[in-house]
Each structure stands twice: as C-alpha cells, then as structure tokens.
Homo-oligomer: 398 residues x 2
Amino acid sequence: MTDFARTRALFHLPEDVVYLDGNSLGPLPLAARERVGRLMEKEWGELLIRGWTEAGWMESPARIGDRVGRLIGAGPGRVVMGDTLSIKVYQALAAALDLVPERRVVLSDHGNFPSDLHMAKGLIDSLGRGHELRLVAPEAVEAALDESVAVLMLTEVDYRTGRLHDMARLTRAAHAAGALTIWDLAHSAGALPIHLDAAGADFAVGCTYKFLNGGPGAPAFIYVAPRHVERVRPTLSGWLGHEAPFDFEPGYRPAPGITRMRVGTPPILGLAALDAALDVWEGISLEAVRARSVALSERFIAEVESRCPELELASPRSPAERGSQVSFRYADSYSFMSALIERGVIGDFRPPDVMRFGIAPLYLDAGDLVIAAGVMEEVLSERKWERPRGRRPEAAGG
Amino acid sequence: MTDFARTRALFHLPEDVVYLDGNSLGPLPLAARERVGRLMEKEWGELLIRGWTEAGWMESPARIGDRVGRLIGAGPGRVVMGDTLSIKVYQALAAALDLVPERRVVLSDHGNFPSDLHMAKGLIDSLGRGHELRLVAPEAVEAALDESVAVLMLTEVDYRTGRLHDMARLTRAAHAAGALTIWDLAHSAGALPIHLDAAGADFAVGCTYKFLNGGPGAPAFIYVAPRHVERVRPTLSGWLGHEAPFDFEPGYRPAPGITRMRVGTPPILGLAALDAALDVWEGISLEAVRARSVALSERFIAEVESRCPELELASPRSPAERGSQVSFRYADSYSFMSALIERGVIGDFRPPDVMRFGIAPLYLDAGDLVIAAGVMEEVLSERKWERPRGRRPEAAGG
C-alpha cells in the first residue's frame, strides 16, 4: 500500500501555497537539491572530465531511461533520455515515416499540443514528399484511420481538458489500418498507469518536468518498440547515437537498440535532478496513484461545482476518460486564475478560457483541494458584482 | 589588464591535478555551485511554475545568448541558447540549405568533428534531394569552393590537432563563390577572439562546456546573421520558436529574429550553471586570453620537446595557425595518457594516436605546464625499456 503522507514529505512545498500546477512543472523533490549539489562538487568539481566514465554520466541517459520505462510500461533498453520533447517528436516521426514509406498522412487531433503539430509540419516541409498533417476532432480519430495514414500521432492526455485517449484501442485500430503510432506521454507519465509494451505502441515520447518532477526543462525521453528499433534510421544522427562514438569515424553507423536515438552530449545537471526525482517513485504503484488521483479529482469537482456553479467543467466528467487534471471554463478565466494565484492557489490558464488544475497524488491530499475550492468560491463571490453570472464573451466558446 | 590570478581563484581546481582537458570539459566555476543551489531552492522550490516569468527562465536563452555573443563577436539578439551542438548543426544546415535551394554541395573537411558530419548526412538523407556532403583536406577547402557549393560547414579549430581555420578569409571566399558559411565554434568560443559579425559569418553554432566552463552537457548556442534571420524557415519548428507560443495556435508562425531558432522547453539548471560560468568572463579581454594562451602553449611545446623528444607535435607549430590546445603524437598515446592521468596530469586521447592538452588561460599558469611536462618526462623515462624509441604501429601514421 502506497503511503502518500510519506511521499508528500519528500517534496519542498512552499508555505501557504496549494500547488495545482504539477501538470506543468512538478515541485522540487528534496533529494534533487542534494543530488545536484553533490554532482557539482564531487563529480564535476573533483572528477572533472573523468565524470563521464567514473560517475556514469555517459550511461545515465540509458540508465535513467530504464527508470522512466518502469513507470510507462516499457521494458529495459526501450527508453532513452535526451533533448526536449519537441526534438523527440521530430525524431520519432522522422523514424516512423521512414518505416512506412508508401503512405503520406500523419493523423493527429485538434487537441494535440501545438509544438507536436509544429514539429510535424516542419519535418513534413523538410521532407518535401507530399506528406499531409491531417487533424480531426479527438473523438473522430478512430474513424479517420484509413489506408492513407502512415502514422497516428497523439498526445494521450489533452493538455487543456485532460481528456484521455484509449491507447490500447487506438493502437490496435491504427495497426489494423496499417499505420504506426506515436504517443506523447507529456501529461500521462507519472499521472496514470501506462502500458506501452502491452499496448503494442510503436513509438512514444514525453517530458519529465510535469508529473515526474524532474525540474524546469528536464530532459525528455523516447521509446521505440524493439520490433522496430533495429530498422530505425536516425535522422538526427548525432555522435552519441553512433555505434562507436569514441572511434570518431567520419561515417555514421547507428548503435544497436535504443541508443541510436541519442543525439548529442547529454545534459548532466538536468539528468541528476531527474534521477533524484525518480527516487520518489521507488516502490510506488501507478495503480495506487491513479486511484488516488481519481478520488481527489472527484472530490475537487464536487467541491468546486457546489461552491462555484458559475464554472463549467471542461474535463470529461467520467474519470475513465480523464487524465490527472481537472479543467474548468469561465468567462474571465485569465484574471480569475490570476486572483487564485495571488491567494496561493496555483493552477494555470490556457486560452481561450480554460483554467487547469493538476492533481498530483504524490504531494496533494483532499485538504489541499478543499482549500483550493474555498478560495475559488471566495474569489468568485468578490467578483459577482463585476460580471453578471453566466455571461461569457462569444470568443470564449471554443 | 586582465588579472589571471584573480580568474584562477574563481574555479574549483582539485589538489594535485594539472587540468589540461578544459577543451573537453571546463572545471567548476565556484559561482555555479551557489547559483544552481539558489535556483533550485528559491526559484524552482519557492516560485514553482512562476519561475518561468518571475525568475526570467523563459527569457534566459536570449539573455544568456547575448552574453555568449559578446565573447564571439556577435551583437545583441543574434545568438540564442538551447539543445545540443549536434541539434544546432542540424538546424543551421537545414536553414542554410533552404536559403540556397539551387545548389547541392555541403563542403567540409576531414578534420571536422564527426557528429557535425553525421548530422549533415542525416539531414541530407532526410531531404532526399541529392545533396552531397563533400569532404576535403583542411588546407584544400578554399580551392574546393566552386559554384556547386551551397554551404561551407567548418569547425574553426580542429578538435584533434588544434589547427585553426582563417574564418574571415574562408568566409570571404565562400561568399565569393556564392556559398553560405556555418562555423562550429566548439573549440574556439572562450579560447580566442572571434568576430562573427565582422567576418560576415552566416551561421555559427557551438557548445559551452569547453572553454566557457558551463558544465557537463551545458546548452549549445546558435548564431544567425541578421541579414538572413527573417528569411530562415525553421525545420525544427518548436513552440518556443513560435511568434506567440502561449497562444497555443495549431499553426506555426516563426518568431521574429533569433528567437525562431529556439525549439523546446529550455534546460534551466544547465542555463543557470552556464550563466554563473559566464560571470567569470566579465571584463575579460579575449585578446588578453589569446596572448596568454599563445605564451603558455609556446612554453609547453618547448618544455615537452626538450624533455620528451619521442613525442611529435601534432598541432601546427605556428601559433597563428593553432587554437588553444597542443596535441602530440606518440606510438602508444592511449596508455601514455592513462599514465599521465594516474599521476594527476589530465589531458585526453583521440584516436589513432593523439594526446590533447587544452590551454585555458583563465585557470592555468606556466607552473602548471612545467609540472605537466615534467610528469610526461617521468612517464616516458619509465617506459623506455618497454618500447624502443620512435617505434610506432603502422596504423598510427594518420
């Protein structure tokens, strides 16, 4: 049984703050401060260049990749760390399109994170081979899978609404249509159980600064299914994806396995913070995290809806269709959220009218959410004279 | 007048070590430890998500880019930080080839760092438009500039030998031939005066963990000349290169200026360490650094050649043709270097037979180099019985 009082104590949580933005940036794990300090003093400071071998820096993207893999249902040797999520999207899509050369459509949905779509478009333009980025509504994805689709590229949990795709089902449907899948796990890694291997996912990517609490700009990860990896021809063919980087050959030979998805010199400070953040996950069951996330989210929705009927739930009402965040719509979400933040309830705003509240069971409890709902009610009651209830600018209906 | 005793005191240098590998990884600036600790405790810990705006994280790639710009002869707004050097090579080359669509040759030399060549090859294969990566000897570059060359892509200082290209002259020659230039400054930024703007360079890229002492895996930089930047269509079109990233539009619109070369969420821990490392450079004249580097290098060569006649200078003898490192060839360089490192003289080995010694004036003085030469003599004298003088495996002649 997971002891969430114990995990909460492993984080630095500022006084007088209820932190509901861990879906954007997780809080500081206490161990990270110490771990990075030790890295700088004992490894960089004392070992200097020898840190690459003697402190294991060079292998850390693979070692830490395996640690992340355990949290996303990926066996050892299938995940490696590096770069940013946007770069990893590019890398995965370039590899996937190369594996399905006869098809031309990249299928995604309107709810995908814009950077994923931008990177796909940048790659498509660069390839110049007539690929098309086709966007449909999230609920229309399955029906849009036809024989033109090379790659189905989705973010499992919608960054705005928290709407959760059914990874196993959509992966099966994509495969039935002859397409490969790329799953962006930005809002699901550390938030709910993921079973990449079991779902038969082809590629997956994600960041580690949200529910994994790796710190601002922490390194991203990429997963490649073992049945594909030896056929992947890396487009971002950097030296650390080379079979023998320290032979310094002019010609590129991809390393065996997931190592070929490495590119350049890894960000060791960021990896050290992430490594410490992952210590918090030792012995944690994602099923327990999920159960608690659902319970906390249900409680939060109930509290907010009873106290603040002016707010409209923007997330799916069914917990089964929701990730680990709760979003509400309101006419004046931006200034409403600003007022909450001023009072120490930290969520965030996404245009046009969405307020997001991340539910991170490792360090949140029901008391936090009741406090948050109370502050929301308070802010709302002070504004009622400012804005007639229920009125909303037309532009805010999307 | 630059006070190098003062700058030396700004670094942590382990006892009993002469550190001649700052061309691979610079030592720990004392301020970096404190700066990263403060970032973690006060910014990540207390501000949480608000750090992106209130602590200036979001703007730091541009702000720090300007600081690096001052050290490489680039005006404000022409350099931005992010990613790794390999990614920045890809980004620059993709942009440059797009600007010269009618030509097909990327010209480089055999001395270029393999990852630059690998990334170029990966891009060329991805483009599939018949581009050719043409490699010539370093001294044959100028003569190889003909009307087929789209881009001249060179590393200014050869990572193995320290051989220094003439940036101004080769840039002029490239332009005369109708080609654009990409300069990799990995081994020159912080090592010698660079005048990107004055030389008319088109693109430049570099890393910050060598002579700039930013720490293991510190972020890379990219420079784009203002006359090109508004025409650059970023292939790695990530959200932070978007004109309005927080509008979360599905379509990509490149940001004005150098900002469009940003890709994903920046690595804030690494940027903080680098920012502190750049404090050391405040008030430092690169001309003074260069003069001291030449004096130290000349002294080191003289000491080594007089004490260790078995070693052959692999770097150009003329200081004007050399960066800030001195390399020697020896039959058994690998185990020779291992023996030096065991005795606290830290340089490194590059195949097939090169020992590299980085000369970093900020924290090295003549005494260090005399000690190093003495240890080299000692190691050599203990090995003479093992290996007849001058004998060398045939493979080691390259």
